[in-house]
């Protein structure tokens, strides 16, 4: 509880509960604003990708567009279907938003700046993202509509399939957290220690040490967990109207909408924390210590903290941009492809990654320079296994395959023949 303590030391005689409440209000404000502007970023970036301009009328460069959207949604009529379960129908969007926002509590934005530095940080994140599916599934079920129900069902199946690989990818990260300057050789679930163990040296970040396949598994699972393209099957507007939020309007729809973007911001923050060194400045350990000492004596420690917050924000922004970029590039997966990828590709790979990372940590004892060659070896081993395992793996169904083979055979017999 480092900030809470610091506020007390600075003479503000507030009770710890009040301090926490103030902090929460601050973080809530930042996260909601970030979500609103992520919507703006999404609309502008999608426009650029499609050679358009995007919203540019409300305020300078359209920056007040989120505000206008909120006003519009507040003023709209709130419709609850006659046969819907009214209590659950109203509770579902609240669950979605609550869960999305609560995840941010364990993410450190700078050294000592975290609302709750709990010692089960990673578990807390996994638990809350699992809860997020309740919002979607309950919304789908309580609306009493076919499309909503289908969306809700898809969501639950998808979440279960991808949470496993996500959790296993995290096991490797936890294994790696017992190294470096963390002061211990035992891995930890604490987010702060995961960040500290990555140090200010970019080579020590988990993005490097887990580049293939750990990072990619977690990254892909993050897309599935946030219900974003290419895994937005619960919404799938082309096939399911609006998916689980078909029957929602006005502010309840807005809550779902904003929950999606909060999820995106939080996922980006989690990705930055776990894989991109969190608040660490990418300048190397010696330079980082020098900078901290210099800033503390000449400017004040707050400057160093500010630099760390900026670094964290920038890393989060990179991932937010990638989230948006991917959405406007890739088409949606088919349901069978989604399940194949989750169970037949990512789960075995995540297991393999845990094994390889554990071996790497065991052999090298967590020494960074000794681990770097192993990263390459692990990637090559994984690549080789993937190559062998997928030799006879086809994206076609057996029927499609048989039809193609028959056609190929017919073609071989009579090339250049008139049909």
């Amino acid at each position: 509880m480092a900030i809470q303590q610091r506020i007390l030391e600075n003479g503000l005689n507030l009770s710890p509960t009040l301090t926490s409440l103030i902090l929460m209000a601050g973080v809530l404000f930042v996260v909601l604003t970030a979500a609103a502007y992520t919507i703006w970023v999404e609309r502008r970036v999608s426009a650029w990708i499609q050679n358009r301009v995007g919203p540019n009328r409300v305020g300078p460069a359209g920056l007040l567009q989120p505000l206008a959207d909120v006003i519009k949604l507040v003023l709209k009529e709130d419709i609850i279907p006659v046969n819907a379960n009214k209590a659950i129908h109203s509770a579902a969007p609240v669950i979605s938003v609550l869960v999305a926002v609560a995840t941010f509590a364990v993410i450190p934005v700078a050294r000592g700046f975290v609302i709750a530095d709990v010692n089960i940080g990673v578990l807390y994140i996994l638990a809350l993202t699992s809860l997020g599916v309740y919002g979607v599934t309950l919304a789908g079920w309580s609306s009493n509509s076919k499309y909503s129900l289908l969306g809700g069902l898809r969501s639950s199946a998808q979440m279960i399939s991808y949470e496993l690989s996500m959790g296993l990818a995290l096991v490797a990260v936890i294994l790696l957290s017992g190294r470096g300057d963390a002061g211990t050789t035992v891995g930890s679930l604490t987010m702060t220690q995961i960040v500290e163990s990555q140090t200010a040296n970019p080579l020590g970040w988990n993005l490097v040490l887990q580049f293939f396949p750990g990072f990619w598994i977690f990254f892909t699972a993050a897309f599935a967990e946030t219900n974003r393209l290419p895994f937005d099957l619960p919404e799938a507007e082309q096939e399911l109207v609006g998916g689980y939020h078909t029957e929602y309007s006005s502010m309840k729809f807005a809550l779902f909408f904003v929950a999606e973007y909060i999820n995106m911001v939080v996922s980006s923050a989690v990705l930055a924390t776990l894989y991109l060194g969190g608040y660490q400045l990418p300048i190397g350990r010696a330079a980082d210590q020098l900078l901290e000492a210099w800033m503390t004596t000449h400017v004040g420690h707050w400057a160093y903290t500010g630099a760390q917050i900026t670094a964290f924000a920038l890393k989060t922004c990179i991932f937010i941009f990638i989230f948006v970029w991917v959405r406007w590039t890739l088409p949606r997966f088919k349901y069978d492809q989604l399940m194949n990828l989750g169970w037949k590709a990512m789960l075995p790979l995540a297991l393999l990654n845990v094994f390889l990372t554990a071996t790497m940590v065991l052999i090298t004892g967590g020494n960074l320079w000794a681990m770097l060659p192993f990263v390459l070896i692990n990637a090559v081993i994984t690549g080789g296994i993937v190559m062998v395992a997928s030799r006879h793996n086809s994206t076609l169904s057996p029927v499609q395959r048989a039809r193609l083979e028959r056609r190929d055979k017919a073609k071989q017999l009579q090339p250049n023949e008139t049909v």
């Binding site: 426009a47 650029w48 050679n51 970029w325 590039t329 193609l404 008139t418 049909v419």
Partner: protein
């Protein structure tokens, strides 16, 4: 009819290859493409500030030509436009005048809620007095506003130069071509001068 199959794209007839099945290389290829698109110029026109100027062949709202040499409209209130107008959007009431043309419209009204921008009025007009302008931004808040009176319809001929030139070049050429065809059947033919009525023989 026999269709000759010469070559089939192997990608269309075969299963995906290894790299395509691995998703990532293809995904990165796609993302590189969309990233490139972000820096391409946009196609959007910022409409109210940035207006589209249509070509002379465009049929905007019909207007009456105000002849600048005389200071009055060219219209002689013959009523052909009102007669030919498919949705009956034009109303003309004739009046006498002491000018050389002897006739003038006392009332000339076009109901823009009825107008279908077909351009028949322009085509039929013997005086080239009603032409389709390049204006397309029409909006009303009331039905009565949509009935354009003579004051709103009269436009100085200099402003309509584009359209008038276009008509001289293409409409008259078409008339001459038709007249020549008629002449082949009916005998020798004298080429038409600009914007005269064609004496079509039965």
């Amino acid at each position: 009819m026999a269709i000759r199959i010469t070559q089939v794209d192997p990608k269309l007839s075969k299963d995906l290859n290894f790299w395509e099945r691995m998703y990532l290389p293809e995904i990165l290829k796609g993302m590189a493409y969309t990233f490139k698109q972000m820096f391409q110029p946009t196609f959007t026109r910022q409409y109210p500030e940035e207006q589209w100027i249509p070509p002379a062949s465009f049929r905007g709202r019909p207007v009456l030509v105000l002849e600048e040499s005389t200071g009055v409209e060219r219209c002689v209130a013959c009523g052909l436009c009102a007669r030919v107008c498919p949705p009956l959007a034009i109303f003309v009431q004739a009046d006498e005048t002491l000018l050389e043309k002897e006739r003038r419209p006392a009332i000339f009204e076009i109901n823009m809620l009825r107008c279908i921008f077909c351009g028949f009025c322009e085509e039929v007009c013997p005086e080239e007095a009603i032409v389709m302008s390049q204006e397309y931004g029409l909006s009303f808040t009331d039905r009565s506003q949509a009935k354009f009176q003579k004051e709103q319809l009269l436009i100085p001929s200099a402003q309509l130069k584009d359209r008038l030139d276009f008509l001289h070049e293409y409409k008259d050429a078409e008339r001459n071509r038709l007249a020549e065809q008629v002449g082949k059947v009916t005998g020798p033919h004298v080429p038409m001068v600009d914007s005269q009525i064609i004496p079509v023989q039965p």
